[in-house]
């Protein structure tokens, strides 16, 4: 992998496993009734190695249920993995305390999919956006000023009109703008956006994506973009990881993956988006050098990792 010194890894997951226990709820009288009440396990993440590098825009693509949101929650400190380690600037996220914790909370911010659910319905927009400065040491006036400035940046103008509005008085697109303002207002290092436009009307998607692009470029924010849509991933990010059933099956430069997808699952994903699939071709067979992401860049052999190095930071899981 492109020699990436330790310090440039803003977020890093290593060998992360997340397992959910589900209680089966087979309806009574069903032939499954005998197994009802038994719990079964869903492996949402299997041995995931992944890192987000400083300043980059990287996408995590995959079908529904592939574990994308789960990985986002792991990185946000909401879901402690059963196994593996997750670090922010080299420190285990789930052991952060005091000043370090504070710094993590200021610098890693989410944008969620559903703008109807991600703003508190009982609070005014000004309150929700100002929440983004919760840990910042600023006077009330400074905060208010910053809120106004940020609302203007995200296009919620005239600002005075929107400050006192409640989420239900805004359109979906306007709400997502408010959510974006809230995410960026504290000038975080990293934004993790989990399908930020998939619930929006097609007509405003491009506007919102461009807004995110503009915001992250003006602050040089590191950006983890989660989506099932390869087209927008290509538009927004330079690196890409493809997830299938809790595993990263392909990783590399966005262009490389889209030009020459190497994993069968990636190809299937691309079939859903015919226009970017066309000039793609099957990946050439390259010498097999199983790598571990992010660990030693010298191509050290590790027979257990199960990945094939296609060069240029392009890895594919062995079939």
């Amino acid at each position: 992998m492109v020699g990436s010194p330790w310090s440039h890894e803003v977020l890093k997951a290593q060998g992360v496993n997340v397992v959910f226990r589900m209680r089966s709820s087979a309806p009574k009288g069903d032939h499954l009734a005998s197994v009802a009440r038994e719990s079964f396990y869903v492996k949402a993440l299997r041995n995931v190695d992944f890192q987000v590098l400083e300043g980059e825009s990287v996408s995590l693509v995959g079908g529904s249920g592939s574990g994308k949101s789960t990985l986002a929650k792991v990185f946000l400190g909401f879901l402690r993995p059963k196994e593996g380690s997750v670090a922010y600037l080299g420190n285990d996220i789930y052991r952060l305390k005091g000043r370090r914790m504070r710094e993590f909370r200021i610098n890693v911010q989410p944008i969620f999919q559903d703008p109807y659910n991600s703003l508190n319905p009982a609070r005014k927009i000004s309150h929700s956006v100002q929440l983004g400065l919760f840990l910042h040491e600023m006077s009330k006036e400074q905060k208010e000023e910053r809120v106004a400035r940020t609302l203007e940046m995200v296009g919620l103008t005239p600002v005075d009109l929107f400050l006192d509005k409640y989420p239900h008085q805004l359109s979906g697109g306007q709400r997502q703008r408010a959510a974006i303002a809230r995410a960026f207002i504290g000038q975080p290092k990293v934004i993790i956006a989990d399908e930020p436009v998939s619930m929006l009307d097609a007509s405003v998607r491009a506007d919102i994506l461009n807004l995110i692009l503009k915001m992250k470029q003006s602050k040089n924010t590191t950006f983890l973009y989660i989506t099932h849509d390869l087209a927008t991933a290509r538009y927004l990010t330079e690196r890409m990881a493809v997830m299938e059933q809790g595993e990263i099956v392909e990783l590399g430069k966005t262009e490389d993956i889209i030009e020459s997808p190497a994993h069968e699952y990636t190809m299937r994903l691309m079939n859903a988006v015919p226009d970017i699939w066309h000039h793609g071709s099957r990946a050439p067979d390259r010498p097999v050098v199983p790598p571990r992401f992010g660990v030693d860049s010298d191509g050290e052999k590790d027979e257990t990792s199960g990945y094939v190095d296609l060069g240029n930071g392009h890895y594919v899981k062995r079939g």
Binding site: P110, A122, R182
Partner: protein, 321 residues
């Protein structure tokens, strides 16, 4: 709007019910009174028809009009059991006791119940849940009169630390004196506890479930990402959101509290309208039953109205217009 609708429906039921009953309720009561040893002149019987606002010979809309006019004058008819006292007088005499019992019971169950539910949601773990949830379900499904019965047997009959019946002891003079107030409290504790403990179980469960739902919303995750502590989120941020459904729950539960109160007052021979209604039912005192029914309906409607007002005040999405 809905409220007026409900109220009109209640009036209509109150108006129709005696007219649906087999025979003629006024005639029934006249017979009852005569059987009880009263002598009734034809004028008195005519007067009774008038008191009911009931004259089967008039067209139905005139009857309804008369009924409303009587109601507006606070005239709910005359009781048969407590003849010649009027239903409105009887209710006015008993209602304050019931309002006293029910409002305190609701206050001491809803307020702590809501807070316990709120914090229980914040402290979610399997062990806690496996004990807490079944226990609460058990408590909330105890019939409150049965609990009252146990209290009565144990604390009043056996231990004799609480009185067996009544609202105050006959050794005190009603009025603004300490002895009277203490006596009233002493008599009210067991009935209030019987009502409150059971109701509280329901409030805790409801609040906890709502709160768990709210805590799973993305805006709570965002608040955590912003560095708000779990405690702060529970207390000031998401707590307010979960409070709203619990206010509705409070209004809905008023019906159950009033219903349960009938039996609890009966067990403690408490002079409220719950007990009065039990007496009225067993004595087939139609006008009294209907009067109390109307009062119950109004009480529940008022509770709902207050919940709606509170809701509108707290929830920006609801406006009353």
């Amino acid at each position: 709007m809905l409220l007026t609708g409900t109220f009109v429906a209640a009036l209509l039921i109150d108006f129709t019910l005696p007219r649906l009953m087999p025979g003629n309720p006024v005639q029934t009561e006249v017979t009852n009174l005569i059987a009880a040893g009263f002598t009734l002149s034809p004028e008195a019987i005519k007067g009774m028809y008038a008191l009911y606002g009931y004259n089967p010979n008039l067209p139905i809309y005139v009857q309804f009009y008369d009924y409303i006019v009587q109601l507006l004058h606070g005239n709910l008819g005359v009781s048969y059991i407590f003849f010649p006292q009027s239903v409105s007088y009887l209710i006015a005499q008993r209602l304050p006791w019931t309002i006293f019992l029910v409002s305190i019971a609701v206050a001491v169950s809803w307020i702590p119940g809501t807070f316990i539910g709120m914090f229980a949601a914040g402290k979610r773990n399997a062990k806690f849940d496996s004990i807490f949830t079944p226990l609460l379900n058990f408590i909330s499904s105890i019939p409150n009169f049965w609990l009252g019965f146990l209290f009565l047997i144990f604390f009043a009959a056996d231990l004799k630390i609480f009185p067996l019946f009544g609202a105050y002891s006959n050794t005190v003079t009603p009025g603004a004196n300490l002895a009277f107030i203490l006596s009233v409290l002493h008599h009210a504790i067991l009935p209030i506890l019987s009502l409150a403990i059971v109701a509280m179980g329901g409030y805790v469960i409801h609040m906890r479930n709502t709160m768990v739902g709210v805590m799973g919303d993305d805006f709570v995750l965002v608040a955590r990402a912003k560095g708000l502590s779990n405690r702060r989120i529970v207390r000031t941020y998401a707590g307010a959101n979960a409070l709203l459904p619990n206010i509705t729950m409070l209004a809905i539960s008023m019906g159950a509290v009033f219903g349960g109160n009938i039996l609890v007052e009966t067990i403690f021979t408490y002079p409220g309208i719950g007990y009065l209604s039990a007496v009225a039912v067993s004595g087939e005192d139609y006008s009294l039953i209907l009067g109390i029914f109307l009062i119950f309906t109004i009480a529940i409607l008022v509770a709902n109205l207050m919940a709606d007002l509170l809701y509108a005040w707290l929830d920006p999405r609801v406006s009353l217009i």
